[in-house]
């Protein structure tokens, strides 16, 4: 009759025979030498050399690559922090200059005022109003490319919102303007050269009663319906009474001028 735990024999054996049973046998035969002799010493030297070789080869080849990566990521984080600071500074400075300008112009009525419409349409001023908030994210379970939100998907989403009549759109707090590019760098989506954190939050100001339905009818809407149904990408649309979208800092031109 087998012992009840015969199937656990392997583990029991591992624990009970952790020391080579030959030691016990040698001891009972009276051949135990008790102290390590010359042969053991040689074996130990070899063991030591083996350890050292492994140590040396691991530290030697140990990247260069990983340490350079870490360095690069450090630089990138610094650059991002600096850029955030610059954007804040620029926005503050812009506001100051605008105020001083207005004061200096005072009662000068000869200059056409900046049309509210142009200001909002170009993205130069922060705007507020009702609208919709769409939150999208990668498919929960999947790690493959198919389950990821791509820059093209976000671009289609924004495109659909414009087609549905949105008046202002922002992605993760970045206002979308004539000069905004939604691209990809590696596996991170970037807007205005800043990488976005998931989940992606797209806010659009417009008619909260008509936008949801109108959006669904656009190519962007059906694009996302397809992604949601077939790849499990997360998609959630909510209406909102009061959204505030920031202006696009650094909005300007370098080579284009007004044509007369």
């Amino acid at each position: 009759m087998q012992a009840p735990d015969a199937s656990m024999d392997l583990l029991r054996q591992l624990r009970e025979e952790a020391v080579d049973p030959d030691y016990a046998r040698a001891a009972s035969d009276g051949r135990a030498t008790r102290n390590p002799g010359a042969m053991s010493a040689i074996a130990l030297v070899i063991a030591g050399a083996l350890f050292a070789t492994a140590l040396v080869s691991t530290t030697r080849s140990k990247p260069l690559v990983t340490s350079e990566r870490a360095q690069l990521m450090g630089y990138i984080r610094e650059a991002e922090a600096r850029q955030d600071q610059l954007r804040t500074d620029q926005a503050a400075l812009r506001a100051q200059v605008d105020t001083i300008q207005k004061q200096a112009l005072g009662g000068s009525a000869s200059l056409p005022a900046l049309s509210r419409t142009v200001a909002i349409a170009s993205g130069a001023v922060p705007v507020t109003g009702p609208g919709v908030v769409i939150v999208v994210d990668d498919a929960a379970a999947s790690a493959s490319v198919d389950g990821r939100v791509l820059d093209q998907d976000l671009a289609q989403l924004v495109n659909g919102l414009w087609a549905a009549g949105a008046e202002a759109v922002a992605v993760n707090g970045h206002r979308i303007t004539t000069r905004t590019a939604i691209r990809e760098a590696g596996s991170a989506i970037t807007v205005d050269y800043r990488s976005l954190d998931r989940p992606y939050r797209v806010e659009a100001i417009g008619d909260p009663r008509k936008l949801p339905a109108d959006f669904t009818a656009t190519t962007g809407g059906s694009w996302w319906a397809y992604l949601n149904r077939n790849y499990g990408l997360a998609f959630d649309l909510q209406t909102s009474d009061a959204l505030t979208l920031p202006a696009d800092p650094g909005l300007g031109l370098t080579v284009a001028t007004r044509a007369r």
């Binding site: 812009r94 200096a104 142009v118 349409a121 170009s122 202002a168 080579v255």
Partner: protein, 243 residues
């Protein structure tokens, strides 16, 4: 049993108020465990975004970040000089008027309400099999913007602005409710060679149009003086107002 409960609670209380040495050691070990656990979890989640990027992507991202920062720095320098000129009081009104006009022009061009001119490129896309899809055009506009395009015009028919949308279907492209004729001409104002490179990079517009799926051809000319005269009709916002 009622007797044990107060004893247990009292023991708990005395242990809490006068910890023995073993409990102090236990506390220290658990403290280290907790610290290590939190550190590991935060370290795990921190670099998630960049962990899958290749070295060349990281370098490219760094380059674009630096370029953008330089642009912002130049902008800030200009704003500061304007500010000091305005504050100096001398001729403040004239300077203010100049700056205001410049700003109006800039925003007008960006909003598409003013015509624009400058160096740039002119692209002609021939699509004999009518396979050019709205997705490819949307991609192309995104690439141009990424390459620094400041104003974009299609076929002398449509001014592309921030709110522009691309729709329709292959061979029947529609932008901002305007049906586009073929062949498609795209004019963009910006740094000519950056714009051309933006269109030609691997996987970009040129490779997509000239690939087997579309079977078309793209002609790109760098031009010193692109003139964009089509204006975008901006309708007054009904729901958005300045914050």
């Amino acid at each position: 049993m009622p007797d044990e409960a107060p004893r247990g609670a009292r023991r708990f209380l005395t242990d809490f108020l006068r910890p023995s040495r073993s409990q102090a050691v236990m506390a220290l070990i658990l403290f280290i465990c907790g610290l290590a656990a939190v550190m590991q979890v935060t370290a795990n989640s921190a670099d998630a975004g960049y962990s899958t990027m290749r070295r060349s992507d990281l370098v490219e991202l760094l380059d674009t970040l630096n370029a953008q920062s330089r642009r912002l720095e130049a902008d800030i320098a200009e704003l500061e000089s304007t500010k000091s000129r305005l504050e100096s009081g001398v001729d403040a009104q004239r300077i203010a008027a100049e700056e205001a006009t410049k700003r109006l022009d800039e925003l007008g061009i960006l909003a598409g309400t003013l015509p624009a001119t400058g160096p740039g490129i002119r692209m002609t896309i021939v699509d004999p099999q009518q396979q050019l899809t709205p997705e490819i055009l949307l991609d192309a506009i995104g690439e141009l913007r990424d390459a620094g395009a400041e104003a974009i015009e299609l076929n002398d028919q449509v001014r592309v602005v921030g709110t522009s949308w691309v729709g329709g279907s292959a061979g029947a492209l529609v932008v901002d409710d305007v049906a586009l004729d073929l062949p498609l001409t795209i004019e963009a104002i910006g740094t000519p060679h950056s714009l051309e490179e933006g269109a030609r990079f691997r996987g970009g517009l040129v490779s997509q149009v000239e690939g087997p799926a579309v079977g078309g051809s793209v002609l790109i000319n760098q031009v010193d003086d692109v003139i964009i005269e089509t204006l975008h009709r901006v309708s007054e916002p009904q729901f958005a107002r300045p914050a």
